[in-house]
Amino acid sequence: MASKQELQVQQKRELEKKGETTVPARAFMPAADIYETTEALKVVLEMPGVDKSNVNVRVEDGVLTVEGRLDFSKYRDLQPLYTEYNIGHYSRSFRLSTKIDQSKIRAEMKDGVLSLALPKAEEAKSRSIQVN
């Protein structure tokens, strides 16, 4: 039933900034799906309009930060007639609860969707314990 339902527009949530930036640019929170497999934590973020060369992913002190910068030059000579959504950069951070093997993080950008695979560190993987 859920898949038949007509899609609704998700209002873009503007990022709540902890401090001010020097450039008065707008930043939005990309919609995220996060799921966990036995091997890795997968993070999928929607950042429409962001080219893969303008994506910045880093893990620092157990915090995953993703930034996507939008190229505004395409909009320079356009005169808006009717608008339904706003555009801006994307930025979002997540505090990770599992240890991540930083050297094996993989990122893939396709059609405005960034897919991250964060492999769990060896010591964070669950082990089954034999009961005697």
Partner: protein
């Protein structure tokens, strides 16, 4: 597809939303625009022509249909999100499902000259104004 019941009230709220949407819709009124509000569209003017920019991240090109006639465009398709088997879902915010949207443009279009470009999850529709619709300057004899 994995069904998670993160919130048992979700189906109820969806029903409420569907009922509200019906009340607020243009049903039985003489407006021709949207059937559904997804995807969001920005319309720009570029000289004589119209440029519609639509945010549609993560769509397969063969799951997207674009139709044009005189002064209306229709965008329909399916947006899918996939999870691996055996994954446990922590967060699910990306929307998925079917969409169908019709929009009228205040000028007559040249349907053969429409160009569509899909890049980085953004669909750009170049909608040229029909030659017959353009204003003509009249010389005084």
């Amino acid at each position: 597809m994995i069904t998670t019941f993160a919130d048992p009230f979700d189906p109820l709220f969806n029903l409420q939303r569907a009922l509200d949407a019906h009340l607020a819709s243009e049903w039985l009124r003489d407006a021709t625009t949207s059937r559904g509000p997804f995807p969001p569209i920005n319309v720009f003017q570029q000289g004589d022509d119209i440029l519609a920019i639509i945010e549609l991240p993560g769509i397969e090109k063969d799951k997207l249909q674009i139709e044009a006639k005189e002064n209306t465009i229709r965008i329909s398709g399916t947006k899918a999100t996939n999870y691996e088997d055996g994954a446990s879902v922590h967060r699910r915010e990306r929307a998925s499902g079917q969409f169908d949207r019709t929009m009228s443009i205040p000028v007559k279009l040249d349907p053969d000259a429409i160009k569509a470009e899909y890049r980085d999850g953004v669909l750009a529709l170049f909608l040229p104004r029909a030659e017959s619709d353009k204003p003509r300057s009249i010389k005084i004899k």
